[in-house]
């Protein structure tokens, strides 16, 4: 049985009784049984619940009912997003066994539309990383080449979608954590405008940058999931209250202009990535799209500014994990100072500790102005530059990542080299902008390459319809 990729194809097949929902689930589960031991995309799967769901849905279809909403869609949720019935561990030892007290609205909205939550996916610990090698539960391998990383931090979600273990997945993106693994795994990853999807139930890494988004096979699927989740939330003070008016944002390919960002094509860009991007852009032009050149002169400062802000917020957000009120307590009965030291030393991984120390440093008295304040200034400078660049085009375009998916273990000893993976993605987070990674033509070694579009903040629907138009052209 060949399971189609997109949600609409799956639902059509279910309606046409090409296969049953139970067969569909069986296909996902057998992929999981067959490959998850190696790929390590899922941390937990609720098979029984999913079987019941599939049986009920099959009965409903047999009874002549038509499929509604997301019925027949099996979703994987990154393990830093609360889903009822599943632990939220953030791939950290310190939260092992933690059952959330509530569910994130993003997940609830998808459930209300009829989707089934199949399981929780591996990620870099507390979403900190670009290769998914920072998980307390082992690294995730790239299904397209198992010696390579799937990207991070939503590596498990991207790998689960790419390995056909689920219909689609949710990730979270703080500096590229949806788009970079999507690019590395050859799937679609969309980070909406900051605040579009409620952050409630998403375990905070860097609160001013975090955003939930879909990882899917097609832009159309990303759009479907996005529209369901993009609802104002009165319990998230940073949730956007204005509606994303998609009727005003319809974009046709003919006449649309993409702005090629000069700084997205630096000399050190991987030549294969460069050539695939160039041919994609040529196809776009041939199909009637316009290309223009734009510049973001201060882009090189976005990465240091991002790491200062993200680490500062992380050092604050993660200070609460002490195993006292919840989580996994290893040292009962020690004094309070010792408890903090031992539980946190043992419970948190090296990358998390590195970022917390960096963050505590940049916020400390006497350094705040030089680091945190300056990073905020860079943030607003880059925001202005991006606004200017977007005056002459509908979206900025470039590669999602500066390299092809790299080999497992090749960068773990060099954090700076690892941080460089986020070079093209962090700009969307520090400017709040919507951004999407779409697969383009694979490299000669059949490794995925991602093309990234970045839109104006709040114009999520516009960037999605532009991406849909671009999708077929760049991947012939």
């Amino acid at each position: 049985m060949q399971v189609p990729l997109s949600i609409s194809e799956i639902q059509t097949a279910l309606k046409e009784k090409e296969f049953s929902c139970q067969e569909l689930l069986q296909s996902y589960l057998s992929q999981i049984h067959h490959s998850n031991a190696e790929i390590n995309a899922f941390l937990s799967v609720d098979e029984e619940m999913a079987q019941n769901y599939a049986r009920d849905l099959d009965q409903k279809i047999a009874g002549g009912c038509s499929l509604q909403g997301l019925e027949g869609v099996f979703l994987a949720i990154k393990d830093n997003i609360h889903a009822r019935g599943f632990e939220t561990t953030c791939s950290s030892k310190i939260l092992k066994g933690y059952l959330p007290a509530f569910e994130s609205p993003a997940v609830s909205l998808l459930r209300q539309e009829g989707a089934c939550i199949l399981g929780k996916t591996n990620c870099d610990e507390f979403a900190m990383g670009s290769s998914n090698e920072n998980s307390a539960f082992g690294p995730v391998r790239n299904p397209r080449d198992r010696d390579r990383v799937p990207g991070g931090s939503s590596g498990g979600s991207a790998a689960a979608v790419a390995a056909l273990m689920c219909s689609a997945a949710l990730g979270s993106d703080t500096g590229g954590s949806i788009r970079q693994p999507a690019a590395f795994c050859g799937v679609v990853g969309f980070k909406p405008t900051y605040g579009r999807i409620s952050r409630r139930g998403l375990v905070a890494f860097a609160s001013s940058l975090d955003q939930i988004g879909p990882i899917t096979h097609t832009v159309g699927d990303a759009s479907i999931l996005y529209k369901i989740m993009a609802k104002p939330d009165a319990h998230d003070s940073t949730s956007l209250t204005n509606i994303d008016n998609d009727s005003l944002c319809e974009v046709r390919l003919k006449g649309a202009t993409l702005g090629i960002v000069e700084e997205f094509f630096p000399p050190e860009l991987d030549s294969m990535v460069q050539s695939r991007l160039e041919s994609s852009l040529k196809n776009f032009e041939k199909a009637g799209g316009n290309l223009t050149r734009v510049s973001l002169p201060h882009l090189k400062y976005s990465l240091p500014a991002y790491y200062i802000l993200a680490c500062a917020e992380a050092s604050s957000n993660l200070a609460r994990y002490d195993s006292i009120r919840y989580g996994n307590r290893e040292y009962p009965g020690v004094g309070i100072e010792e408890l903090y030291q031992k539980e946190r030393s043992l419970g948190l991984g090296d990358e998390v500790k590195r970022r917390m120390i960096l963050g505590a440093y940049v916020l400390s008295e006497g350094y705040y102005e030089a680091f945190y304040r300056k990073a905020q200034k860079v943030r607003s400078l880059i925001r202005t530059e991006m606004e200017n660049a977007l005056r002459s085009c509908d979206a900025l375009v470039g590669p999602t990542t500066p390299t092809l998916p790299f080999l497992l273990g090749s960068k773990v000893s060099d954090p700076m080299e690892m941080y460089y993976s986020d070079l093209f993605t962090v700009i969307a987070n520090i400017t709040s902008a919507p951004a999407i990674s779409i697969p383009c033509q694979k490299s000669e070694d059949a490794l995925p390459v991602g093309i990234q579009l970045i839109g104006k903040p709040f114009e999520d629907s516009k960037i999605l319809s532009l991406a849909e138009a671009v999708e077929n052209l760049v991947n012939p």
Binding site: H235, S316, R325, G333, Y340, Y372
Partner: protein
């Protein structure tokens, strides 16, 4: 010797705002007396994935306090995170306001000697969340109750401008009066809805630079504040006189021992790593809102006190006591509106009524005595229907039953005997049964008159109108007995 030094004091007051729910979640903030950890939710417990939402009710309460204390209120205010590790702080940071507080540059007027008014400058007022409570036990380790966690507090900080313990006490009393009047906090030190830390330094008189400062914590009453200040003044002066240095640090007041002890020195003070809370967008405060809050502010105690003296002609002493509590002042004004004898009404409130309230341990709003009842009582006295003495006897019953004085007078026949006919009869009877008195009077012994009055009052069960009796007695003595007094 002590006169060659001067003390400089700044006060940091924390008061709990009277909001229904906590600062960033919907848990009830009225936790007093509740079982531990029953007023908690994932948000105030700082669980992973939770987000704070600012309680709008707190904004209005905080604005009321700021405006009553003449603070400048900015167009935008924001929240910051203050980091430290302690089990009663579940997020390991406190949400507070660092560099853009809701109020700055305010002041509080204190009454000085006589009519002198002293302005105490208020440096800043900010909103913050409270922490939980840690209880260290011998048998079950350390326990934490998070009911208080994230309850809204207002921190009110003065400039280092107070000079001695008396001023500090006056400041605290006046501040409490103002905050209670505008109804933002109960301000009760006993149950912790008002807490005060003292910053104190001592320098040689005439020096422009401040001395080395200590912070005193754990002050549980106004009396502790006074005692701790006086203790530290002396300690500083004797150290300075001996040529020794003061160690900068935080001290704890030990009420029982009557002394302070060092909690931590400056060297080990924390770096709180403040930064703007990314979960809470800055709050816009419109001029319209400020105008609205101002228009709803009640008259402040000191202003009201002055008005009471001017408008009602009562003593400034009475006015000041009445304005101590807004409920008393309101009661007074309501009663005066129904019967215009402010002096008598204020005396009744501050003596009889206060005594009854204290005795039954009730507050004025719970009492069955209403302003109209007191006004009526004073009116009955003023019209001569009852005597002051009878009124005093009636009063406890009015409070106990809630019946109006008119009802009670009618029911028990307590109204004064004022008609000449029956009074004359009583006077004649008393004179007849006490013939020797007439001799005393004729001999010029005026004291005998008092005895006669007493006998007449006794005979009427105290109901005789004494003024009338006096007049009639004179008349009868002169007309019948030819005794002219």
């Amino acid at each position: 010797m002590i006169n060659s030094f001067e003390t400089v004091i700044g006060l940091e007051v924390h008061c709990q705002l009277k909001s229904r729910s906590k600062l960033f979640c919907t848990c009830s903030a009225q936790y007093s007396g509740a079982e531990p950890n029953t007023h908690v939710c994932p948000v105030c417990l700082g669980h992973p994935g939770v987000l704070p939402v600012f309680n709008k009710e707190v904004l209005e309460l905080a604005l009321k306090a700021c405006l009553a204390l003449s603070c400048q209120v900015p167009a935008i205010t924001k929240f910051d995170r203050k980091h430290y590790f302690y089990p009663d702080l579940p997020k390991a940071y406190q949400i507070t306001q660092f560099d853009e507080p809701i109020g700055e540059h305010g002041n509080l007027e204190l009454k000085g000697e006589g009519d002198e008014i002293r302005q105490i400058p208020i440096r800043r007022i900010h909103i913050e969340e409270d922490a939980g409570k840690t209880l260290h036990t011998h048998t079950s380790g350390s326990l934490v109750d998070y009911n208080r966690c994230s309850v809204p507090l207002l921190e009110i900080v003065t400039d280092p401008d107070l000079k001695n313990s008396k001023e500090a006490k006056d400041y605290l009393e006046t501040l409490r009066k103002v905050l209670r009047t505008v109804d933002v906090s109960d301000c009760d030190m006993e149950n912790g809805t008002l807490r005060c830390d003292v910053n104190l330094s001592v320098r040689k008189r005439g020096e422009s630079q401040l001395g080395i400062r200590v912070e005193i914590k754990n002050l549980n009453s106004f009396r502790s504040v006074v005692r701790a200040i006086e203790y530290e003044e002396l300690r500083h002066v004797s150290l300075l006189e001996a040529g020794k240095r003061i160690e900068r640090g935080t001290l704890l007041w030990d009420e029982e021992a009557g002394k302070t002890r060092l909690m931590r020195s400056k060297e080990t003070e924390d770096d709180y790593r403040y930064f703007p809370d990314p979960d809470l967008p800055p709050i816009k405060i419109s001029r319209e809102l400020i105008k609205e809050v101002i228009s709803k502010l009640p008259e402040l105690p000191l202003a009201r006190e002055k008005r009471f003296v001017k408008q009602y002609g009562i003593s400034s002493y009475n006015a000041s006591l009445l304005c101590e509590e807004r409920d008393f002042a309101d009661f007074f004004e309501e009663a005066c509106a129904m019967h215009a004898n402010p002096n008598s009404i204020s005396n009744w409130i501050l003596t009889e009524f206060l005594r009854e309230l204290n005795r039954s341990d009730t507050c004025i709003s719970e009492s069955l005595l209403k302003p109209a009842m007191l006004a009526q009582l004073v009116k009955l006295i003023d019209e001569g229907t009852i005597s002051g003495k009878i009124a005093k006897n009636l009063f406890p019953e009015m409070i106990a039953s809630g019946h109006s004085p008119e009802e009670l007078v009618e029911k028990s026949g307590l109204s004064q005997i004022s008609d000449d006919e029956s009074l004359r009869k009583h006077v004649h009877q008393v004179l007849e049964s006490n013939p020797h008195i007439l001799d005393d009077l004729k001999a010029g012994k005026k004291k005998a008159l008092g005895f006669l009055m007493g006998q007449i009052m006794k005979a009427t069960g105290g109901k005789a109108n004494p003024q009338k009796v006096q007049v009639l007695l004179h008349e009868i003595l002169e007309e019948v007995h030819s005794i002219r007094l």
